[in-house]
């Protein structure tokens, strides 16, 4: 008994200071691929090695639209190995409220040999203009109403959030990192966040995917059992986009193919810091870039 106490006292506080300060030891993490869009010479090389189709291209009318979809990306870095215009960042604050804010694209003129002749427009993301809290359109629009409800939701959950985790088909990689949030190192309870055993006690569903055909009904029932107002956060490449599994006879693909999603956290799997960033974002605490 006293040995146990002594060990605890000797160990001291091990909790990370993130988001108040930089997280420890993340400078070695492989984050998202960052593309030098203006100097990207050929999207085909990277697309050919990308295992999930996160980097893709379409040719039409002498032009090529090249895309990077962070929702599909597993952060493997194979693209950066073969293409000098791509480097892997060490970031993790990638969670967004709109699925399309994860997809970037640019249009290039094509040379005769299929390389890029020059940037026509982009890089751009269809979601970026609408990302954030500003309600678009007139104040009496449905969007504005929805935004007001969402803001109220965040006010309600601001200081206490109960999360029900649902594995709707994941490989268990995301779960390993979600469990890490409960460790003394990340200790989410310091934010008033708790993982609970029943959706009836939950304010938020943290859902990993891809949603399998066999879990679709269970996910819907869990969603319906969660009292309103409720938030849904899709976790990982598979939860955001279906990932390497995509849609097939046994999977329905991303979480938002089955239930509405409020925040998307990409990554394979997202680290506890990335998860924390996304969960806090869903309740209106945007901690992006606070510590730089």
């Amino acid at each position: 008994m006293f040995d146990i106490l002594r060990k605890s006292l000797r160990t001291g506080v091990v909790t990370t200071r993130y988001p108040a300060a930089s997280p420890e030891g993340t400078c070695h993490a492989r984050g998202r691929p960052e593309i030098d869009w203006a100097n990207w010479k050929d999207a085909r090389t990277a697309a050919a090695v990308c295992p999930t189709g996160a980097i893709s291209h379409v040719e039409a009318g002498g032009c090529r639209v090249a895309r990077l979809d962070l929702a599909k990306c597993v952060f493997c870095g194979l693209c950066a190995d073969v293409d000098d215009a791509i480097r892997m960042s060490t970031g993790w604050e990638y969670a967004v409220r709109r699925r399309d804010a994860l997809a970037w694209g640019a249009r290039y003129r094509l040379n005769g040999d299929g390389t890029h002749g020059g940037l026509v427009d982009g890089p751009m993301t269809p979601g970026v203009a609408r990302e954030g809290d500003a309600a678009p359109g007139a104040s009496d629009s449905i969007e504005a109403l929805g935004e007001a409800i969402r803001r109220r939701t965040r006010e309600i959950f601001g200081r206490s959030l109960h999360i029900r985790e649902v594995d709707a088909g994941s490989c268990n990689g995301c779960e390993i990192e979600i469990v890490g949030l409960n460790s003394p190192v990340y200790d989410v309870e310091r934010f008033g966040i708790r993982f609970v055993a029943s959706p009836r006690h939950a304010d938020m569903l943290l859902v990993t995917g891809p949603v399998t055909r066999n879990m679709e009904l269970a996910l819907k029932k869990t969603y319906e059992a969660t009292p309103e107002p409720r938030l849904v956060v899709a976790v990982g490449a598979c939860g955001c986009s279906g990932g390497i599994f995509g849609v097939n006879y046994a999977t329905r693909g991303p979480v938002d193919a089955v239930i509405p999603v409020d925040v998307y956290i990409p990554g394979c799997p997202p680290s506890p810091n990335a998860l924390l960033h996304g969960i806090l974002k869903a309740i209106g605490h945007d901690i992006s870039g606070q510590i730089r």
Binding site: D3, V74, F75, G77, C238, I244, A250
Partner: protein, 541 residues
């Protein structure tokens, strides 16, 4: 490459395997139509399907073999047949005999081996569900890998489209076995569980507190993985293999790489073999430490788990330093590994080992000194050696129940034949011993990594694996932290696969849970379950 008759086996064949093959060829003259020995430790026998039972019996009784895997392949276009493969592991000689049985394309059927070898129960039912091959005489032929509400399709057949859309799941009414009697009631749990874990359904039949019977319903996270491999370029398959079972990503990817490398006939540089070994042991470390902590949590000793989670985090951060990913993803590649360990990384790894050695001692001491924990763990969830042998239990759970097997020692892969280590084996088979196997393996893992670092060879990180020639078959295997992992590939033109069979140890070990829980009380189920810690995703694929 192929030969028939008994005289002309490849001279390169391992001596023990050659002797076994010569004996088999003599005994089954005329019934074995072809013998291929593509590698010294891997022999393929084409046999008359009616002889499968007799072959199995001979292999078990005369050659000490065990049936480590059974799977099928739809070869109707190339060979006008469905093929069933039975992988026999000859642990004592370090070799595999793969029996290949050709079944007619119309109404294929084969005599079931389950009554003789209960270990293949689920695998045979999986073949039945996925290929529509009937296993005649199976003692429990109900659907296993496909839930009862699935339409009558066989998704692993080549004429079934990977991207086909099946009608939505409406909720099945699975006919569980009925357990009746005075005071007997049923407790259904899942698929969405209370903790942060994967989905599956358990039906307990209890009378008072003790569990009379436990039925498992898995395959909720079936993702069509084996079919998906057939649609991918081989190099992309490495990333899919990483996503078969999240906590064994590196082990699965390495087993897949082994299979492809063996098919391609590629030698792996010594440095890559060493780095793979280090990563496999790092995966073992973080999982074993986490499991030891979680077992303590399930008997309400949370303090120990807090220390364990802290140590696990320490390993994960080192993983990130070494490979850029906390779960070692992106490290595996065909022909070797992707990232080198420079002096700084080796220093970080050595620092981890020093710190972990001390900290883990403290954790072990805290658990040991807590008599209440030991009271809860000893004699709880016993899996007897006899039942473990019948069910073919592998890995940690097997070694806690007297099964002295470890692929790292019996079929040394990567760098394991160049390091010294012991394989802890206990015969009691309770939760305490499954914890003890993990505890000893943590010490062994630290030692294996240290020895590997001391001998770390110089040289290239990988051999380039160009397009793999079509129509080659190969078995890849790895002792993952949970147990033996098999990947079997059959290559196709265009650097693709005609078939990739994945066998996670969990598929083999799940039935053990139903046995180990008998007579225990439901409140002990979490700790018994955690002591096996089986992968749902690895099982369901």
């Amino acid at each position: 490459m192929s030969s028939s008759g008994s005289k002309s086996f490849s001279a390169a064949l391992k001596p023990g395997l050659r002797r076994a093959m010569e004996a088999l060829a003599k005994q089954f003259r005329g019934r074995i139509t072809r013998v291929d020995a593509p590698r010294p430790d891997e022999v393929y026998l084409d046999a008359d399907p009616v002889m499968a039972g007799a072959l199995c019996s001979t292999l078990y009784k005369k050659h000490g073999a065990r049936l480590a895997g059974v799977f099928a392949e739809d070869a109707r276009t190339s060979e006008r047949a469905f093929l069933v493969y039975q992988i026999y592991a000859l642990d004592a000689v370090g070799g595999f005999v793969v029996v290949r049985l050709a079944l007619p394309p119309e109404d294929p059927a084969l005599a079931s081996l389950t009554s003789a070898v209960p270990a293949v129960n689920w695998q045979e039912r999986e073949i039945q569900d996925w290929f529509g091959i009937r296993l005649l005489g199976h003692s429990n032929p109900r659907r296993c890998a496909m839930h009862d509400d699935w339409p009558p399709v066989h998704p692993m057949r080549k004429d079934f489209d990977l991207r086909a859309t099946l009608p939505p799941f409406r909720g099945e009414r699975h006919k569980f076995r009925e357990v009746e009697g005075e005071g007997v009631f049923q407790v259904p749990v899942g698929p969405v569980h209370a903790g942060i874990i994967e989905p599956g359904h358990f039906l307990f039949s209890v009378a008072g507190e003790p569990v009379l019977y436990l039925q498992l319903r898995l395959f909720y996270v079936h993702k069509g993985t084996e079919k998906l491999f057939e649609s991918l370029l081989i190099p992309h398959g490495v990333r899919l293999a990483e996503s078969i079972s999240g906590d064994s990503g590196f082990a699965h990817a390495t087993a897949f790489c082994h299979a492809v490398e063996r098919a391609a006939g590629v030698e792996i540089p010594a440095r890559a073999r060493a780095l793979r070994t280090i990563c496999l042991e790092l995966e073992r470390l973080y999982n074993h430490v986490a499991d030891i902590g979680a077992i303590c949590t399930d008997v309400a000793f949370v303090t120990a788990n807090m220390h364990a989670m802290r140590l696990k985090e320490r390993v994960l951060r080192t993983n990130e330093h070494l490979t850029g990913n906390r779960l070692l993803r992106g490290m595996a590649c065909l022909g070797g590994v992707r990232f080198d360990f420079d002096a700084g990384r080796i220093g970080a790894l050595s620092g981890l080992l020093d710190e972990l050695g001390n900290e883990f001692n403290d954790l072990v001491e805290i658990i040991r000194s807590h008599s209440g924990t030991r009271d809860r763990l000893e004699t709880t969830g016993v899996l007897s050696p006899k039942v473990a042998r019948d069910l073919g239990i592998v890995g940690v759970a097997g070694r806690a129940s007297g099964i002295d097997r470890d692929m790292r020692r019996d079929f040394p892969h990567d760098f394991y034949d160049e390091v010294q280590f012991t394989v802890p084996v206990f015969s009691e088979g309770d939760v305490q011993r499954r914890l003890a196997v993990r505890r000893e393996e943590v010490y062994q893992a630290i030692s294996i990594i240290r020895q590997t670092l001391n001998k770390l060879p110089d040289g290239p990180l990988r051999t380039e694996v160009r397009e793999v020639p079509p129509d080659r078959v190969a078995l890849g295997f790895v002792e993952g932290w949970r147990g033996e992992i098999f990947h079997w590939v059959h290559t196709a033109p265009g650097n693709r696969l005609a078939r990739c069979k994945v066998k996670d140890p969990s598929l083999q070990n799940w039935p053990a849970l139903s046995e180990a829980i008998l007579g225990n009380i439901i409140p002990d189920f979490p700790v018994v379950n955690k002591s096996f810690n089986l992968s749902y995703s690895g099982t369901d694929r």
